[in-house]
């Protein structure tokens, strides 16, 4: 495994018109690290994530993967570079199975000469999905069928597992537990904890310090487009993290 950080952001700035959303932000994400990104609304967390996932392009600064600068012009570019993002709306297909959701847009097929009529490898996709769901310990009833029939936590689990399945480097999670109850949150965080074992690093936006304490190796706090501090989240640093979020 490379000694270089899995992902590095170097002095990235981003303006929207006259408003500066990011101001010289630098960030290093170690291999297999779980990094929490904290900050109040409007602190620039989402903009930073969108710069990493190819939705926005930084006006100034670089994004590096394994020490190599990369140009992320689109979210497809980011995916090709090994970065997968789970947004709050999850982007799941309720009318399809977990396996169909996993492979949507990148289905495994046979007979590629058939073009659009290439036949789906249903069994292969189902077994890959099952294997991954099992490995990440996602609590999904094996044969429930449609994603639309799953609970919020199970859906979140499927979305996170889908990202993990295709990310070779980094999984970005935007508020993965925001819509969930305590028990379901815990189940999702268990899944997040499994991700580094699969060789991917994680950036997780969260408002919930309890979540951060329980999974993150490191927490970075943003305020007004800047990084204002970082801590290893523990009970002792809890107060200081809150202080950073509120006052910078």
């Amino acid at each position: 495994m490379s000694r270089e950080p899995a992902l590095e952001v170097r002095a990235v700035s981003k303006w929207f018109g006259a408003v500066q959303a990011l101001d010289q932000v630098s960030l290093r994400l170690g291999q297999s690290e779980i990094l929490a990104l904290l900050g109040d609304n409007g602190a620039g967390k989402s903009t930073l994530i969108k710069c990493i996932s190819g939705v926005h392009r930084p006006d100034v600064g670089d994004v590096l993967i394994d020490g190599e600068p990369v140009e992320l012009r689109s979210s497809a570019d980011a995916r090709r570079s090994g970065i997968e993002t789970v947004y709050q709306d999850l982007a799941l297909f309720d009318n399809l199975s977990p396996a169909a959701n996993f492979f949507a847009g990148r289905e495994e097929t046979r007979g590629s000469w058939l073009g659009p009529f290439a036949l789906l490898k249903e069994k292969a996709m189902a077994s890959h999905t099952e294997e991954l769901i099992h490995r990440l310990k996602v609590n999904v009833p094996a044969r429930v069928g449609l994603v639309g029939l799953m609970s919020g936590g199970q859906r979140q689990g499927v979305a996170v597992a889908r990202a993990a399945a295709f990310a070779s480097k980094v999984v970005i999670l935007d508020e993965p537990t925001a819509a969930l109850g305590v028990r379901e949150s815990r189940a999702v965080l268990d899944v997040v904890r499994e991700l580094p074992k699969a060789g991917v690093a994680v950036i997780m936006i969260s408002h919930n310090l309890e979540d951060v304490l329980s999974v993150a190796d490191r927490a970075v706090v943003m305020r007004r487009g800047r990084i204002v501090g970082e801590e290893v989240p523990t009970e002792e640093t809890h107060e200081r993290l809150v202080g950073l979020i509120v006052k910078g």
Partner: protein
Amino acid sequence: MSSSAAIAGRAGPPPGPTGPPVSVRTPLAERTLWLGLTIVRMGPALILVLLVLVMAAIAPFFLTERNIQNVLTQTSVIALLAMGQLLVIVVRGIDASVGSVVGLSTVTGALMFGTSLHAAPIVIATMLLTGVVIGLINGCVFVYGRLPNSLINTLAMLYIAQGIAQALTHGDALQGMPSAVNDLGGGFLGVVPEAALLVAGMAILATVFCRSTRWGRWIFAVGGNIEAARRVGIPVNKVLVSVFVISGVFAGLAGVITAGQTNAGYGLAGSTSMLDAIAAVFIGGASFMGGRGSIGGALIGAFIIGCLRNGLDLLNVYPTWQLVAVGGVMLLAVELDVVRGYLENRFRVAQASRAVRS
């Protein structure tokens, strides 16, 4: 085949029809919900079976060989249109133009038959091409004209295609079709109407397309969540255009059958079957919210309408009451879709609360 089978088929391993899909620990309430869901999903098939049984009991002629042939022939046009319409409805659209595409394609076929290029394959190809062209226009206007809903532009096409068809024939019927086309309309292979064989063949093709090909999967993905489909890199615009083209092809095929049945090209042919086809799709369990439905379901819907009309004819019920009956069944089907949504919601909640308890 019910819509449940189709959905489960797309959805990897099908949930067993006999029990809940989960372990022995599954609570009773959840099992009951699953049973309810299964029944609702099989609703259209159950309605068809019930309808056939009732008709057979009160109309002695209903289950005779001759009458079954009649039902199959009469329903073939609606069935073809319904299969094409299904894919449009899956992506939350509607294709209101198909009625006059049937008429227009019978006219273009008849015109081609009047030229020196009157071989059956060329005539049939002309009719299918008519459907493709109209479908392509429908799809492109809808997608690239950035219309919020396809109802309006396909309604416009309903007028345009019918106007063109009437103009081409000066409002008359053009007599004459190749014998192969007439055979497709009214011929038999053994005891089976050729039209029914065509429907069966197309149903198999369309089912394989929907369930087992990448493009078919993409159509259902776009219907389920168009934004997510964009995000995962599915060519959403092309998928949307393609469903209108497919619907056009099916309308062209329905035109072939219609032309064969009447041995003529006539602009107003098929103008009533469009509403039947849309009704059939919804009766067959497709959801007006998109993403849900199956070719088998659309066929079942078509045959419910076909059996209802034929049976009421046999019973000498005045034709206007057939309309009332079809409308009634459609309301029932749409309400079933609502009940299904409610049960699925309850099921989801039950899942979540079990996750909390365990």
